[in-house]
């Protein structure tokens, strides 16, 4: 053995140029980090601003106050005053009469059509609702607020400029004059658009609502979460903590990673083949959509959970095993809680993806026009991204703001969904 190893190297001389470089590198690194976060946040703000600025107007709706003569003969000829009879009556004619009375002297079918076009195509239902609310109105002349058409609505929201040539304008000069008269009479009012939150889909922008899609998303994602979270976490635990390390486990691992790269529409094909054609489940149903999305989300959760489990230091496992805990107990008492933040992150990302996905649903019939609000998991339903996709593809101009508003609802949905996971994740977080 070397006895004399006395070291004569001088104490560490800090090389000032190197130190300067290192410090500069440090500053740069930190700055890059902050810049990265800020870039991402900035882009998000940009996106959100553009969505909100386009969509906030959808929460308001323009109404026209019309004096309607609700003569009993046409509404309630038998005079029963029963709700069913009042509901079954036709109010379209009354509304049209009222409009003609408002602007007497309009001749010609074209002119009449454009006059009727001032109010929404389902404006007669506003009249009906007013009558049902207060059956005493029958026989009187009442001032009732009816929805304006989407063009009029757009005009009052400033989407249709006044000072352009008539040919470039959706509201023609004649209609403009009528509207000005109405406005001068204080007959144009804006109200909060309740229908947007309580209606299902419609082909008329002013009637279209988001509720059907929200309920559909709720059902679908409930199924997705109920399936993919437990299955994903259990799979991750099995692979990470229990499975013997051999070729098979490698195969499963590669396989799961690979599933993440399978285009989502292929999951739709799978769902079509298995759930619809083989198992005979109903088309367009949230239950099928939920299962398909669960299969799609599974790899995300598994991969994130495995990474989180792997990151728990072995000494903690040893401590528990050394006390006589079984592997299962060790995992569920110690490892899993410590891995929870990562698992929840995976869940957040996976569910966010599931919430925004359209392509796989195409194959199983959820990209559809469905006006009725789904009442159960096996009723036909759409989901929010599908609604957005359909509205974005509609020719009517009024759907532009609805599309953005629907995106806002989807993001709100996302935030609420994530909030729970984010709070949980914070509670589980600790360093060791």
């Amino acid at each position: 053995m070397v006895k004399n190893m006395t070291d004569n190297t001088p104490p560490l001389k800090i090389n000032p140029t190197l130190l300067k470089r290192r410090n500069a590198a440090e500053k740069r690194f930190r700055f890059y980090g902050l810049a990265a976060v800020m870039t991402a946040v900035l882009v998000l703000c940009l996106l959100l601003t553009s969505i909100i600025s386009k969509g906030y107007t959808a929460f308001q709706q323009t109404y026209i106050l019309v004096d309607i003569r609700l003569d009993a003969e046409s509404i309630d000829p038998k005079g029963t005053k029963r709700v069913e009879d009042l509901a079954a009556a036709s109010y379209k004619g009354l509304l049209r009469n009222a409009l003609r009375e408002q602007f007497p002297g309009i001749e010609g079918r074209k002119a009449k059509r454009s006059l009727y076009g001032l109010v929404g195509s389902a404006a007669d239902f506003d009249v009906r609702d007013a009558v049902l609310d207060n059956p005493k109105l029958v026989g009187t002349t009442a001032t009732i607020a009816v929805k304006s058409s989407d063009d009029v609505d757009s005009f009052y929201k400033g989407y249709i400029p006044r000072d352009v040539p008539e040919s470039n304008r959706k509201i023609k000069d004649r209609e403009l004059a009528w509207l000005d008269t109405l406005a001068a009479d204080d007959r144009i009012v804006k109200k909060f658009n309740v229908d947007f939150f309580t209606n299902g889909d419609s082909r008329e922008p002013e009637e279209a609502g988001i509720l059907g899609a929200v309920v559909g998303s709720l059902y679908t994602l409930a199924i997705t979460l109920a399936l993919c979270f437990p299955i994903g976490v259990l799979t991750a635990i099995y692979l990470e903590e229990f499975a013997p390390t051999n070729k098979w486990t490698d195969l499963i691992e590669v396989n799961i990673n690979n599933l993440a790269a399978v285009p989502s529409i292929v999951f739709g094909l799978l769902g079509l083949a298995i759930f619809l054609n083989f198992m005979g489940l109903p088309r367009s149903a949230p239950i099928v959509g939920g299962m398909v999305l669960a299969l799609m989300t599974l790899p995300t959760i598994i991969i994130a959970s495995r990474a989180a489990l792997k990151a728990v230091p072995p000494s903690i496992r040893e401590a528990a095993l050394g006390i006589g805990a079984s592997r299962m107990q060790t995992v569920f008492h110690h490892v899993l809680p410590l891995a929870m933040p990562g698992i929840l992150t995976g869940t957040i990302l996976g569910m966010a993806q599931a919430l925004g996905e359209t392509a796989p649903l195409l194959m199983i019939g959820m990209v559809a026009f469905i006006a009725d609000i789904p009442g159960s998991m096996s009723d036909a339903a759409t989901v929010l991204p599908v609604q957005i996709y359909l509205w974005a593809d509609s020719p009517e101009r009024g759907f532009v703001e609805k599309t953005s508003a629907a995106i806002m609802i989807l993001l709100a949905f996302l935030v609420v969904m994530n909030a729970i996971a984010v709070i949980l994740r914070k509670r589980f977080e600790r360093r060791w």
Binding site: R113, G117, A122, R203, A368, A371, D372, S394, P395
Partner: protein, 319 residues
């Protein structure tokens, strides 16, 4: 199942859904579920068989093909065809630029992959509209249109491109001798960037047109109708794409829209007959019906009468 299921063309989708919604509101039946699967996808589902798991109606932006008909028959499906109206396919650009006046021949020259020049077929050499005809603007040829998988594109090449190709004597001769070769030339759009495959979201195309006044877009008439304040349709063969021109058949690039009813389901799935009646009602598909507001170009009144009778009588289609 007590709800009608409709699948099929994305072009017919807006009309079909409008009728479905009104039908749901005004009758005791549930609102039909309408899926947008594309004409071909719809046919595939529709012809797969009879039974609750198969759709009752399919929409199509083209007539059913013989192969599809055979498949249907093979699977025991007998169908009633309902032609509902026309859709104009328009070439449009931003109002910031001048309106174009084109012939089909010019469209062909602008968009075909190979064009005859001095008797020889060569790769399309035209980069600017003015290269084709000096009366056209001196701007780059840039046309945004649907991908090969779209029915709209099918119709466009058939109507505009083929029509243009026929104007060349050489190609006309070829058509007689070798129909396939002719079609291959007439139907192949150039792939050097002048024709941009822009997906099937027509609103996106319109917004892209606004951003890029040089560009032309290809899409259905209803989008032009709704966005008349921003874009203008090019005049083709002397006719502007207006409601009246298309309805009268003056505007050459237009196609018929259909839906097909599965007869076996009538009487089993509630409401099919009533739905057909609602669709073929003047309130809906008439000259002043609500579908016209949505951009559907109605059939001439006589045709309407005839189609209505055959549809309501559920006459079987035979090919």
């Amino acid at each position: 199942r007590d709800q009608i299921r409709i699948v099929g063309s994305s072009t017919v989708f807006p009309f079909s859904t409008t009728v479905a919604e009104t039908f749901g509101k005004t009758t005791g039946f549930k609102t039909p579920v309408v899926e947008s699967t594309g004409s071909g996808g719809g046919m595939k589902l529709f012809c797969a068989g009879v039974g609750v798991e198969h759709p009752d109606i399919t929409n199509a932006s083209r007539r059913i093909k013989a192969s599809e008909y055979e498949k249907c028959t093979k699977n025991g499906v007998s169908i009633t065809e309902v032609k509902i109206g026309f859709d104009g396919i328009v070439l449009a650009n931003s109002k910031q630029s001048d309106r174009l006046t084109l012939t089909k021949k010019q469209i062909f020259m602008a968009l075909a992959k190979q064009v005859p020049v001095d008797g020889k077929l060569i790769d399309n050499p035209y980069q600017k509209w003015s290269d084709i005809d000096s009366s056209l603007p001196n701007s780059k040829i840039e046309v945004l249109g649907p991908p090969p998988t779209s029915g709209t594109r099918d119709a466009f090449v058939e109507l505009a491109m083929e029509g243009g190709a026929k104007k060349f004597d050489q190609l006309k001769a070829l058509r007689k001798s070798d129909k396939k070769a002719f079609k291959a030339i007439a139907h192949t759009l150039r792939e050097d960037g002048a024709y941009v495959e822009a997906g099937e979201n027509d609103n996106l195309i319109i917004q892209k047109l606004e951003a890029n006044p040089q560009a032309l877009g290809i899409f259905g008439f209803s989008f032009l109708d709704q966005n008349a304040d921003k874009i203008q349709g090019s005049i083709v063969e002397g006719a502007e794409p207006t409601f009246e021109n298309i309805a009268a058949g003056d505007y050459g690039v237009s196609r018929s829209l259909y839906f097909y009813v599965k007869k076996e389901h009538v009487g089993s799935v509630p409401g099919i007959q009533e739905f057909v009646n609602a669709f073929t009602n003047e309130d809906a598909w008439g000259d002043e019906g609500y579908l016209a507001d949505k951009g559907l170009i109605p059939l001439p009144a006589a045709d309407r009468e005839q189609v209505k009778n055959s549809a309501r009588g559920l006459q079987s289609l035979s090919m």
